[in-house]
Symmetry: C2
């Protein structure tokens, strides 16, 4: 019985790690679709999001099953409750990648991103890719040091987000309002994606250390 | 023992209802602060958000306590797990009201909202106010009919959200890019606020009927 129980708990962790991999793949492909105005790739990201949603639903059912059958206490109980919360964040990260892909599809065959912002958006995609990859490692290994490193990535994402606004509001900006609207939303999707990745890592930190870092909530813009 | 247990469960529900009231009050005041460029009111909304955050944290601790001590099963277990999920949505709704208030503060003494969009933003505030009020009633009463009505409010919010974009992209739009950026974000905050309210109501529906409505996720833009 104990073995089945611990298999169930580690199965929840495995699913969370799988969700980070899917979210990473989704955001990476969404960024490429956005920058290359690749409609097929955008469609692919949009339809693949269902897989993350299904995993979340499945995880939730299994978590409730563990709670009902095993009545875990102490750390095990925290693991299950935290897994529920993390799965919501990861599901939401999938949604945000889908939103980026939808923008790419909406403007096809035009590109959403004008030349002067390509490097910024490209880097937002890269930061998103590595922050969610780190979130996956933190879930799998409970590496507190790596979780702390993610703050640096999140700061970088916030800086890039501000950089987009600075460009949009600079006197050299000469694109239609539509482009500004698209980029405002797009930039916010990346920024929220990183926030969710950090919140996943903070959940792991809380499991390991028992303390919450208030700074994370404060960093949200 | 049973009585303490049921008091604890109904205490979770009471806290959720209180959170809806705080979120309602926050978004209503944030809308006023935005439309009247009232910095003091904006500050008030921003500082009051901590109360919702504290309630959510407290609810989570109590929910984990109930799970650990009482090992609820069946419907009671679903109530606790669902309360955790709903509290996250409500906490996030408080954040979104705070974001609206922050926009008002950022542009003070200017108003974020130009004359031609005042009526639209005012109505977004009203829809937000009534959809969260209904979410509170649905939590308290498990009124399935009222939960269904919220879809109408959410559809209205989506229509208003589109209306904002139509204005921003119309050929008569003649404001600086900054105004378009602010309104894009602002409109998205209201739209997400309504989404979260609907997701709260859907959680209650799931508790009552045991079935999930797939349409809700599909409606997210």
């Amino acid at each position: 019985m104990r073995n089945v129980y611990h298999d169930e708990l580690s199965g929840l962790i495995d699913t969370l790690v799988e969700m980070t991999q899917l979210a990473e793949s989704a955001m990476t492909r969404a960024t490429t679709a956005l920058l290359d105005a690749d409609r097929e790739l955008a469609e692919n990201v949009i339809s693949a999001d269902r897989r993350i949603d299904d995993l979340q639903r499945d995880l939730e059912e299994r978590a409730v099953g563990v709670l009902a059958r095993q009545s875990p206490v102490a750390t095990d109980l925290r693991v299950v409750v935290t897994a529920l919360r993390m799965s919501s964040s990861l599901e939401r990260m999938g949604d945000l990648a889908r939103h980026v892909a939808k923008l790419a599809r909406l403007r096809y065959p035009d590109s959403v991103v004008p030349a002067e912002l390509r490097a910024t958006v490209l880097e937002m995609g890269q930061v998103a890719e590595r922050i969610v990859a780190k979130a996956g490692s933190v879930i799998a290994t409970r590496d507190v040091q790596l979780a702390a490193e993610m703050e640096v990535d999140d700061d970088r994402m916030d800086a890039l987000h501000r950089q987009v606004f600075e460009q949009l509001l600079s006197h050299t900006w000469n694109h239609p309002t539509e482009v500004a609207v698209d980029l405002t939303l797009c930039s916010r999707y990346y920024e929220r994606f990183a926030d969710h990745a950090v919140s996943v890592a903070k959940s792991v930190l809380f499991l390991v250390t028992g303390s919450r870092d208030e700074d994370v909530a404060a960093q949200r813009i």
